[in-house]
Symmetry: D2
């Protein structure tokens, strides 16, 4: 969808085995066009004629597809297939990684922390939605040595669309309205992703131990993480805010606010991550809100496409709130 | 569930082919008991030892089961299998009715309009949730000749649980939150049910033409109908209210209020139907709210069980609001 | 907000007595700008230097402000102050109209039914959100003589934002979640607005009698109307759909779909009205969904601004769905 | 409301300065009675004739009222006025405590942790809703030395009714639907309450440092807390579950389940707290769900009334789920 709104991009094909032959435009809320969905197999062939392919499949498919496509086109992969060490895949994703050398060369596309990919990058791993929020809320505070590196606790609250359009009873309206519950406690695959990139960004020897507990709350979209770290001596609400403001001063898609202004409404419908932090007692509380479908997926992918093509980071992306009721 | 709270009843068995052997109590939110689900087939055998069986299957199953069970026990059937003329089933339910003589003897269990079943009743057809609301809002006004009998328009708004715990994408939270849409426009099986019992209660020669449009709105439970009829000369807001108050004066489960006080909150969690009406221009607007799981199903079934057993109508049912936030 | 996204417009001032001096951009979700809110009084002075003023005050204020501003600038008025006959104001708005000659010359800005305003128009009355939906759903069917003109019943379901950001207990989350209720039954000021413009568009001698019952349902934004009219002999689902398609064939902001595809989700976040109709028995059921903040207010105002300035109707407005979860 | 359902209690008076003279029954969803609201002042006089007064005022009022009433009747106080050390009141409640000797003799009424009040108790401090949930989730694990006592992090998610029926814009449906945000970060008055009673129950020398961050999520009622503690060597998911099961084995209003079964739905509408815990890495994650209006307020008060009167703990309270959609 975002691609078609981008002044410098043309959407060449879109694949969906379920919808082969159906018009793409109405499904994505796009202006009328003649484009129709092709099969995933045809997509691989069509990828020979394009500059960038955005891949939104399961990790298990992506680990096979991305290396093939990457021979012809650069790939932005929205799955978790190129984010962790190869050794972590059996535990966290349930399969042996079949392309460890591609994995080793993949770039983790969180531009606010890791900048632009090297020129020869073939595969960009688009970060997980929760990992993006957790990393943006905590990495600068660890890097600036305001937080102890030992233990980072991430309490996540997300809307339902992160789970996709599921035809399952437990995602029905009756089950989820007026409900709050945790899921995948201690087992969510974003846990090692957060730990790995915290260690990389903050250059902490052992890496922090990350505890991550995602919760479902009755929203359609949007997520909020609340991170807890032990404050180092001297850390104050002012210094943690200053750390975040310095980190994101030149970043068009991260906004720093007071912690009680971090909210789903502040981010939903926009490509923004909204962060804020404070110190209470000897604990740093740091929050981040973002739209799981935007900064947690599609608009972050667009940032990565822009970077791969040498376009301005914000090309095709508006920071205007789309919803201002 | 309600049976176990009833001072004079004992729950003897509960069937569920999906849950054979599982404990009944936790699924229904009941006090601990040793009762476990049996298969539907075993249920038919067990029905030989009980006074009343409450049947909550599809209409297609009920039309076969109820006559068999009715040889030994009285039946309160929550499906639509015993509510219409036999001739109506192919059109509205998609099957030929296999037990037309049982159908002809079945009693329509809307006690506020049709009183108690005859002594020899074997099968009580528990009314549909929407039909209950539509009939309670309109029947007294037709019977009292305040409304023209020609055309009755029923606009329904219901929560999602009426549709059951569905494992379908279109019943997911993401599809239904922030959504309003109509469904089964002109084809909902409660349409002929409303028409038939309006004609029977109001003794109108030709019977009114009923237009019924149900809508899904983002509630977990509860429904509201707004009925529109042409006012006969002289009908006023006062006279339509008086008609409703007269009709329901001795009825513990129907409450008459001002039309703007008819609301889902007023009824949800209770065995009550809440009705109110007014005249505007030459149109009568009459509304009814009820909980589709209570007065639209379980608590109405309990009224019918009480009637079959000669117990007080309100035995086992409390009119105290269960939810008063 | 929409003005700043328009390629040919410049937002010169914005007034708010509550927020004088505060930055405009963050409140409206706009790109950074130096614009700050001025008082309403200063707004009147500043209006001397602009082409068009969009007025969003109460009807009682607008009836005084609009004629003063209209001496210098053209006015698009979002209130109800210039929509009815002068004689209707005491009954429906509670005041005598102080500017009947301006009222007589005002243009009712529903472009899909009434086209562009005459060149010398000073005041455009932007239609009410419910009136827009009701008129779009019914006017072509009356004009094409598919519906009897006698009685039009409009059952409306709207989200809460139509009522504004109210600091009232009855608009609190606790009161409105899981709730459905009617309000202003028989007394909503959009009732005579619907009747007046149905009569004007359909050239019906006496004008239809309109019964309008708005309901609150738990959405943040969006509304759906379900209209009921008596079908004239020969009207069919096909002919009513054809009538709507003919009426809106060249209209970029009205989409015709099957009646069960008319839904809040189809319209929310877009400048579109989505309409669909069918015939069931001898009744026409016709529905319209729109976003009360867009086609029901701001985007329709932008259509009217474009018309006043001779710009293309769709300038500054995108039909891409903004929200496609 | 609960008092009137209690077989051994009679509701003698109810006060409300806003509603003097109005009938009590419909406001509380009660069976018809002749009781009408009296003023708060009259309530003090009427308290001379009763055994127990349940006080639900602000802390500032309760600190003055409770000692006066306690001369004649025993008091269950739902405010925070009798929960902390006198020294803590200026910081956390904004006033000097005017009745420190009554405070010193008040009993903290969390029966699952602190048993029944001494015979001569005059004032029972009914615990805060969040404090109840946080204490039930963590106290046994600290007492059993499964968790390090240093730091306890409490992340709370609650529905809106905890905040009461507020006539404020920020509690409106439009502001809260689709929203998640934190409030009173580091400043919520339940923070010292949790710390104080953790220390008392677990007999920890210094008491744990408590970090508490409450969040608003779009529910009408219900709350969930997720607590994080450092696991002591040897603590396992099995041992933490066993600790909770031992602590609550004889407690009718606490249910121990697997952590992913702790949910708002499991508790809402019931007098139950539902708890569950696990160990992940070196962190204990422990959760509790309860209904803020029941175990977080009214049903816990009823437990305390029963204890004061020597009645069975569960008298007048049903553990049947009231809502089982």
């Amino acid at each position: 969808m975002l691609a078609t709104l981008h002044p410098d991009l043309t959407l060449v094909f879109a694949t969906s085995d379920k919808s082969v032959g159906e018009a793409v435009a109405p499904r994505l809320g796009l202006p009328a066009s003649t484009l129709r969905f092709t099969s995933h197999d045809d997509g691989v062939k069509l990828s020979r004629g394009v500059d960038v392919v955005v891949l939104a499949s399961s990790a298990e498919h992506a680990v096979k597809l991305a290396p093939v496509i990457a021979e012809h086109a650069r790939v932005v992969d929205l799955s978790g297939a190129f984010r962790l060490d190869a050794a972590a895949y059996p535990t966290w994703y349930g399969f042996e990684h079949a392309a460890p050398s591609d994995l080793a060369r993949a770039f983790y596309g969180l531009p606010e922390l890791f900048g632009a990919p090297p020129k020869d990058t073939r595969i960009v791993a688009n970060p997980g939605c929760y990992a993006t929020a957790a990393l943006l809320a905590t990495a600068p505070l660890l890097a600036d040595r305001l937080a102890e590196p030992g233990s980072v606790i991430i309490d996540g609250k997300s809307g339902i669309s992160g789970a996709g359009r599921r035809a399952e009873e437990r995602y029905s309206f009756v089950e989820l309205a007026e409900e709050v519950r945790a899921y995948k406690v201690g087992t969510h695959a974003h846990t090692p992703e957060i730990a790995r990139y915290l260690q990389r960004h903050a250059r902490v020897a052992d890496g922090p131990r990350v505890t991550f507990t995602p919760h479902l709350v009755p929203l359609r979209r949007g997520l909020v993480v609340t991170a807890y770290m032990t404050a180092r001596s001297g850390a104050t609400t002012e210094s943690v805010r200053a750390s975040l403001e310095k980190a994101y001063a030149q970043k068009p898609f991260v906004t720093v606010v007071g912690i009680e202004d971090v909210s789903a409404h502040a981010a939903t419908g926009t490509p923004l991550a909204v962060v804020g932090a404070c110190v209470t007692g000897d604990t740093i509380v740091s929050m981040c809100a973002l739209d799981n479908l935007m900064k947690g997926a599609a608009s972050q992918a667009m940032q990565n496409v822009n970077a791969l093509l040498g376009l301005p980071e914000a090309a095709g992306l508006s920071t205007s709130a789309r919803f201002a009721p």
